[in-house]
Symmetry: C2
Subunit: 94 residues, 2 copies
DNA sequence: TCAGTATTTAGAAAAATTTCTAAATACTGA
DNA sequence: TCAGTATTTAGAAATTTTTCTAAATACTGA
């Protein structure tokens, strides 16, 4: 669950689209899948990779499994990149 | 040369190590290669991917090809991530 | 309990990536 | 010009990734 997994997870366009989809809140796996022209099994595979990378977490409720963006890991990636640039960055408060 | 290439380029640990190596300034291909236990051909392959992704540029001088980090593309990736988080970020001046 | 819905797992095929060796290109300086 | 150095390109093997179908698991509500 280090940077290796996280960057690998971010390298696929389907997985990035999933993250964008989750930007506004959590969604169940089926709802996520309905936005793609792929089988549920494939979406499940991608969700597994995102989860393993720490980029999302899941929560079970009723008959659904909800996925939610983990912004703190996104933040960590940004920090790594900002160190690469050799500059600091600052999250705007409020 | 969109995000697809850039994220793919960032997904390999060797390529990320190359970028870190270039953090402090440009280096010729051979010098970069000397830090890895791989053939020059393989390093050349990775440099080509980084160049194609816009993450580095090259400049020829004497008998060497120098590679240099392109921080503006790193910045673009950070912006994409910050939009994902739904927050702004701010580069510290000075 | 049980039929139905939501999702994942297993296994396999197809495609993409990483690495190597060998050969080619490009430039330097004598 | 030419031998030498730096780097890339070509082609192939090994590995990893993505996707599918079919089957399994898990939970719901009647």
């Amino acid at each position: 669950m280090g940077f290796a997994e996280t960057f690998k997870a971010l390298s696929d366009p389907v997985r990035r689209d999933i993250l964008v989809l989750l930007k506004d809140g959590r969604l169940p796996a089926g709802e996520i899948g309905s936005h793609f022209n792929m089988t549920g099994a494939t979406i499940s595979y991608h969700l597994g990779i995102l989860k393993n990378a720490g980029l999302v977490f899941e929560s079970r409720e009723k008959n659904f499994i909800y996925y939610e963006l983990n912004t703190s890991v996104v933040e960590e990636v940004m920090l790594w990149l900002s160190e690469l640039k050799g500059e600091n960055y600052h999250v705007k408060e409020e």
